[in-house]
């Protein structure tokens, strides 16, 4: 009997699986922002500024489209930072409300400075993302300080800084006859005029360090290039020649500027220093070459040339001098803008009587639509993170400046009620 039972048990044991089985599961992600809880920063002294700071901070997070703030009404824990120095936080209570991250901080005012310290938790893995960070700004710039902190937080989760603290220069008539250069925050708020000469001012372009703006102005009669410096330093005329200069853009960190010049009826692109000296011709063809835009390393230049019979996008390798055409579809392709990541060149392509925005890779092998609307969309300008662009559209009748994510989502009007606006130029970060 015992033997029989033993045999039966052995038979059953052999039938049992030796180890857990293995399956493969494929999950495709969705376009969804990372939910992050933000505790209001603890004030070292009463001042009432924390709420203003908090609102600007969460707006800066939401602006990113990649990170979003969790409604504090859902918090199980305190809405205000109480345990900033504690080595741990109750991650499970933050996970329970769906938060994948937690921001804690404290703020204090020292003379005219607002100072913040903050840290960022990954609550799903219950660990700190980076060290405690410190930021300070003049007290009146509390909103800017909050947006800088928001951009830092976005970087902790995605590896790329947010751009809520950046600015966009643009051209607007503001309902009048002249066109001036204006500046606004990246969310469209805080518009302020940079030029006030009563003339026509066009094509603002930022220096790589974000401290200087070059623009074209007719204030001296013909089109000339001028510089604007942050900090109220007066502008200067760039190139002192009799040739007409249409537009200037910075080439790279060396301070060289590519200038579109019309000389004896032939429009070409030249490279000059900021004081206009040492001009070097970048394009040699007899056709019209214009709209230069440089790769992030400054070694290649995208531009428009009509040497093939119609305006198309070309790329010139500045080391070897080799040129190649990258757009072949459509009768008119213009306004190339090389992304800060180097992956894409945005451009405007004619479709019927209007223009649409497209992205093409620098090899010219892949093109995808970015903004297609029955009215015209032009002048693409990249944000410094490469995740957003500003552009001009006349979809509401007059020209206005819009913003869009690189995937074509979240199109937002930035210059509502501001007359005809165009030529956006997105700044780099201010620090």
């Amino acid at each position: 009997m015992k033997r029989l039972v033993l045999i039966a048990l052995v038979a059953i044991g052999l039938a049992l699986p030796a180890h857990a089985q293995r399956v493969r599961i494929d999950v495709t992600g969705a376009q969804r922002a990372i939910p992050v809880a933000v505790q209001r920063f603890a004030l070292a002294e009463p001042g009432g500024a924390s709420e203003e700071f908090y609102q600007a901070l969460v707006a800066g997070l939401d602006f990113s489209s990649v990170v979003r703030h969790v409604n504090p009404e859902a918090f199980v824990e305190s809405k205000v930072t109480r345990d900033f120095e504690m080595p741990a936080v109750p991650c499970e209570n933050w996970r329970a409300i769906g938060a994948e991250g937690l921001v804690q901080g404290e703020m204090r005012f020292v003379q005219n400075k607002a100072q913040v310290r903050f840290r960022v938790w990954d609550t799903a893995r219950c660990r700190l993302l980076g060290d405690v960070a410190f930021r300070e700004r003049d007290r009146p710039d509390l909103g800017l300080l909050a947006r800088i902190v928001a951009d830092d937080i976005v970087e902790r989760f995605t590896g790329r800084r947010g751009v809520s603290s950046t600015e966009i220069a643009f051209v607007s008539d503001n309902g009048r006859r002249n066109k001036e250069i204006w500046l606004m925050d990246a969310d469209g708020s805080g518009k302020r005029r940079l030029t006030n000469n009563g003339s026509i001012n066009l094509f603002p372009a930022w220096s790589p360090d974000g401290k200087t703006l070059i623009y074209t102005s007719f204030k001296a009669g013909q089109s000339e290039l001028f510089l604007l410096f942050r900090g109220n330093r007066p502008g200067t005329r760039l190139i002192n020649t009799k040739d007409e200069k249409y537009r200037g853009v910075w080439q790279n960190q060396d301070g060289k500027i590519a200038v579109v010049v019309s000389r004896q009826g032939n429009t070409d692109i030249y490279s000059v220093t900021t004081n206009g000296s040492s001009p070097q011709r970048l394009t040699e063809a007899r056709s019209i070459e214009t709209s230069p835009s440089f790769s992030p390393d400054g070694r290649q230049m995208a531009y428009v040339s009509d040497r093939s019979g119609s305006p198309q996008i070309w790329i010139k390798d500045l080391d070897t001098g080799q040129e190649r055409r990258i757009t072949f579809n459509g009768p008119y392709n213009s306004s190339p803008a090389w992304s800060p990541t180097g992956e894409w060149i945005a451009y405007a392509a004619q479709a019927g009587n209007n223009f649409d925005l497209y992205l093409i890779n620098p090899e010219g092998t892949f093109t995808t639509p970015l903004v297609t609307h029955p009215r015209s969309d032009e002048d693409p300008a990249w944000a410094p993170d490469g995740r957003k662009l500003a552009f001009t559209s006349n979809r509401r009748g007059r020209k206005e400046v819009y913003r869009v994510d690189v995937d074509g989502n979240n199109t937002t009007l930035l210059t509502d009620g501001f007359g005809n606006s165009s030529n956006p130029a997105w700044s780099r970060w201010l620090d």
């Binding site: 009997m1 029989l4 045999i7 039966a8 038979a11 059953i12 039938a15 049992l16 699986p17 857990a20 089985q21 293995r22 399956v23 493969r24 599961i25 494929d26 999950v27 495709t28 992600g29 969705a30 376009q31 969804r32 922002a33 990372i34 939910p35 990649v66 990170v67 996970r95 994948e100 990954d122 799903a124 893995r125 989760f157 995605t158 590896g159 790329r160 992956e343 894409w344 992205l359 995808t368 690189v406 995937d407």
Partner: protein, 255 residues
């Protein structure tokens, strides 16, 4: 050596007791090997049409064999057999019973009478699973779908979607896990290529181990995917108990 007649042996009380023990032992052994659930788990479903009762699936083609009744019984018999009836396809919005035909294997039971109209090609288990997955994700993009359990059957050893083998209980479980992790993955748009994780899950759905098998090449992408996994724990218990998962998290095609 001497021979004893059978009649005299049967009259022997000791022999009768020994014979009774022997018969009882054989019955126990035969019963144990036949009705042992673990033994059956190694059984492979081959030619039997199997039923999948997972959300709104495409209606069954009219002329396919063996459409069982929609309502799954709570305690089905150990060896459910397909019914050779041909039923009209149920209306699309309601959960319907679909059938999976393994084309390479001949049907063991009587086939239904062929209908005159041309019939679409029977879908493989892989195709049907892919269709169901797409449908579930389309209908429940942001939430965990309430995927009904497939009719309770003994789990076969092979994974759902294996070559020529289909396990409805495992398929339903995989769909639930997939939808759960999908709903918990935020920030996938920062990824350019898929990270792959190896998970060991115990019979209660808890995480025994989690390892990044293949990085996406972007630390922040890997972290976002790991957060999605950790947020999804505990997983629904697998029909097979403890299980290892190779989890591939593919980002949505973005720029």
């Amino acid at each position: 050596m001497s021979y004893v007649p059978v009649e005299s042996l049967l009259e022997s009380r000791a022999f009768r007791r020994l014979l009774a023990w022997s018969v009882a032992g054989h019955v126990i052994l035969f019963g144990g090997l036949t009705f042992n659930p673990f033994q059956r788990s190694a059984q492979v479903f081959t030619a039997n049409p199997v039923m999948v009762s997972v959300v709104a699936a495409p209606p069954a083609p009219a002329a396919k064999p063996a459409a069982p009744k929609p309502a799954p019984k709570a305690a089905p018999k150990p060896e459910p057999k397909p019914e050779p009836k041909v039923e009209p396809p149920p209306p699309p919005p309601k959960p319907v019973v679909n059938e999976v035909v393994i084309p390479k294997e001949p049907a063991p039971l009587a086939k239904p009478k062929p209908k005159p109209k041309p019939e679409p090609k029977p879908k493989t288990a892989e195709q049907l699973l892919a269709e169901l997955t797409q449908k579930v994700e389309a209908e429940h993009p942001n939430s965990v779908p309430d995927v009904p359990q497939a009719p309770v059957r003994e789990a076969p050893a092979a994974a759902a979607g294996g070559p020529g083998i289909f396990d409805p209980a495992m398929a339903a479980w995989q769909l639930r896990v997939k939808a759960l992790i999908h709903s918990n993955w935020s920030g996938s748009q920062i990824c350019k290529s898929p990270p792959i994780f190896d998970l060991e899950i115990d019979s209660a759905g808890r995480l025994d181990s989690l390892a990044l098998a293949t990085s996406s090449g972007d630390r922040y992408c890997d972290e976002s995917a790991e957060r999605a996994v950790r947020k999804s724990i505990p997983l629904p218990p697998s029909p097979r108990g403890a299980i290892e998962i190779e989890l591939v998290l593919t980002p949505k095609a973005t720029l």
